[in-house]
């Protein structure tokens, strides 16, 4: 038995029985990181010494009678979540040397539960991207095919789970940044309802859309992670004061009578046939399990992408104004005056995609264009939200593909921002509407984006099924995801490294 391949709940059972210790488990995972991360490049920072210290502490706490589903469980954290005393770079050169003086609320909660933090994972700079190629440091590779991207922006966390370099992980999801890499890496990623999880200590990208979100090897692990972090936090004024239910109770393999909608607009032009086939088969399976499946229309779906790419950059352009080289972060050494200092610091510190989005957002908010772009996008956002409100009057959950394609080649989309943005076309509506969703493995498909010869070489890349729920309907989403997972074996497949 390889300890690093265990799920959180499997490991916890062994820890409770005293068959393994947190130190042994953590050592096994660190060994795996040493063995494979030079190929996968999931981590920006690994903290083996403090991880082992935390593991020893977890073993002591257990010996003293403590118990918690995450006690002694080694986790990876996307490097956009502040960790006290450990660099938090956001994948950006501008924060290369930033060491937060505090922990994000989610880190405090994980540590209270006794989780072991292994290190910080790679991401697209400031979470802006869909492939992790926009990292200011290096790209991460998909464990299923190292020549392909893991998706993004939380590609490091997704790849770390798939490669067995952690048991669970945190990412952040602003437009699909947890669900899309989960789909491309064949793992589970759950985006909670906006306001369900505190954003305190999550470095801001687009504040009305950002949400911290867990990754797991299966649905049960995601439910465990969500339980640990779903909590009201007065330090985040958009955190919602609604008690979190017991998500474990939602994990019942029975969905008879549940109403499942299939939004027809989500089977978009350009979708790879293998992806569509896997998702259609999964939906049939859900119907076989006794759910009432019917087609539904979300008529404003096609507007989600332009709405998102006006609102998210607009919010980003305001949020990223704080990087001025004064309080923290990179500061350009040779400057003429204070204005030159701002310009040179930001010019040298930010990468191309971040600059592009700051420019786009600044334009959308600028005098003369605010009404035509930003305000218009906010109004269409209302229409997108109303589509979901209408659909959830008739359905408990909606099911669709997570991504129109399997993992694409590194370098394939970097020079075409619009093509890259299309990677998120099926995920970003949920952020605009503030609702929740999960991506779970539902099969494998060949890539048809490359030549025939290459397609044969990588005939088997993971496909994700997206299950969407209304605001605070995580239990319905988890229930359908769990029932499907229990009826299939996709989540048990592992890449060979």
């Amino acid at each position: 038995m390889k300890l690093n391949e265990l799920t959180i709940h499997e490991a916890q059972e062994l820890l409770r029985k005293g068959e393994i210790s947190a130190v042994e488990l953590t050592q096994a995972v660190i060994k795996r990181i040493v063995e494979v991360d030079n190929q996968v490049k999931a981590y920006l920072t690994v903290t083996p010494e403090s991880a082992l210290k935390q593991a020893r502490e977890a073993d002591r706490r257990r010996a003293a009678g403590e118990d918690h589903p995450l006690l002694g469980i080694p986790l990876a954290i996307k490097d956009i979540v502040c960790t006290k005393g450990v660099p938090t770079t956001c994948g950006s050169r501008i924060l290369e040397n930033f060491i937060p003086p505090y922990n994000a609320t989610v880190i405090e909660r994980l540590r209270q539960g006794g989780a072991v933090i292994l290190g910080k994972t790679n991401l697209d700079e400031f979470a802006m991207g869909s492939s992790t190629e926009n990292s200011g440091f290096f790209p991460t590779h998909n464990p299923w095919d190292l020549s392909r991207v893991p998706g993004g922006s939380s590609g490091g966390s997704a790849a770390a789970i798939a490669a067995g370099e952690c048991l669970g992980a945190l990412g952040s999801d602003t437009g699909g940044s947890v669900r899309q890499p989960a789909a491309l890496c064949g793992v589970v990623g759950l985006k909670p309802t906006y306001g369900r999880v505190s954003r305190y200590g999550l470095v801001a990208f687009a504040s009305s859309l950002d949400q911290i979100a867990p990754f797991g090897k299966d649905v049960t692990d995601c439910a465990i992670m969500l339980q640990a972090i779903a909590h009201y936090d007065p330090r985040d004024s958009t955190s919602v004061d609604v008690p979190a239910p017991n998500y474990a109770q939602a994990l019942v393999p029975d969905i008879r009578g549940m109403r499942v909608g299939v939004p027809k607009e989500y089977f978009v032009e350009g979708m790879q046939p293998g992806v569509e086939a896997a998702v259609r088969a999964a939906i049939e399976r859900i119907a076989d399990l006794g759910a009432e499946v019917d087609e539904v229309s979300l008529p404003h779906t096609e507007y989600s992408l332009p709405v998102y790419y006006l609102i998210a950059p607009a919010e980003a352009s305001a949020n990223l104004a704080r990087y001025d080289g004064v309080k923290y972060g990179y500061s350009h050494p040779e400057v003429e005056d204070v204005w030159d200092a701002y310009r040179q610091t930001r010019q040298s510190g930010f990468g191309p995609e971040v600059k592009r989005r700051i420019m786009l957002g600044t334009y959308a908010l600028s005098a003369g264009y605010y009404d035509a772009y930003y305000l218009k996008a906010q109004k269409v956002r209302t229409l997108i939200k109303r589509d979901f409100d209408e659909a959830f009057r008739k359905f408990d959950v909606l099911v669709a593909p997570t991504s129109p394609t399997v993992a694409f080649k590194i370098g394939e989309r970097v020079d075409d921002p619009l093509q890259m943005y299309l990677s998120d076309v099926l995920t970003l509506s949920l952020n605009l509407a503030g609702i929740c969703g999960i991506s779970i493995p539902c099969g494998f498909a060949p890539s048809t984006s490359s030549g025939h010869r290459e397609a044969r070489v990588s005939a088997s890349l993971p496909v994700g099924l997206q299950i969407m729920g209304d605001a605070f309907a995580e239990e319905a989403v988890l229930r359908v995801a769990y029932a499907y997972e229990q009826a299939t074996e996709w989540h048990r497949r592992k890449p060979v490294l």
Partner: protein, 102 residues
């Protein structure tokens, strides 16, 4: 609205103006490239103009929240030392900034 329809191709001056608002000193190459790419993205966004949104209220946040108040009370904060630890330049317990006035 008419204004943006006619001008989806950003001019060199416009790109320069936005860069100055965003405090970025772009290279000539970046100005050229961003001008083209932003024009393409904005052209794509024109699809929104098809929708009549005259009577639709904007959504700034999905939550039914308005102003959220906290009690006005003294709470522990970070130490000066911790906060200044990340400062590129500090002096006498303060952030050091470049001269703003001549």
């Amino acid at each position: 609205m008419d204004k943006q329809r006619k001008e989806t191709k950003l001019s060199h001056d416009e790109v320069e103006h936005i860069a100055e608002l965003a405090k970025l000193s772009l290279t000539d190459e970046e100005r050229e490239k961003f001008g083209e790419q932003l024009s393409a993205i904005l052209k794509y966004a024109e699809v929104l103009q098809r929708l009549d949104t005259e009577a639709i209220p904007p959504t700034a946040t999905v939550l039914p929240l308005r102003n959220v108040m906290v009690a006005d009370e003294v709470r522990p904060s970070f130490s000066r030392e911790d906060v200044l630890a990340n400062a590129p330049r500090a002096e006498n317990g303060c952030f050091k900034v470049r001269a703003i006035l001549e």
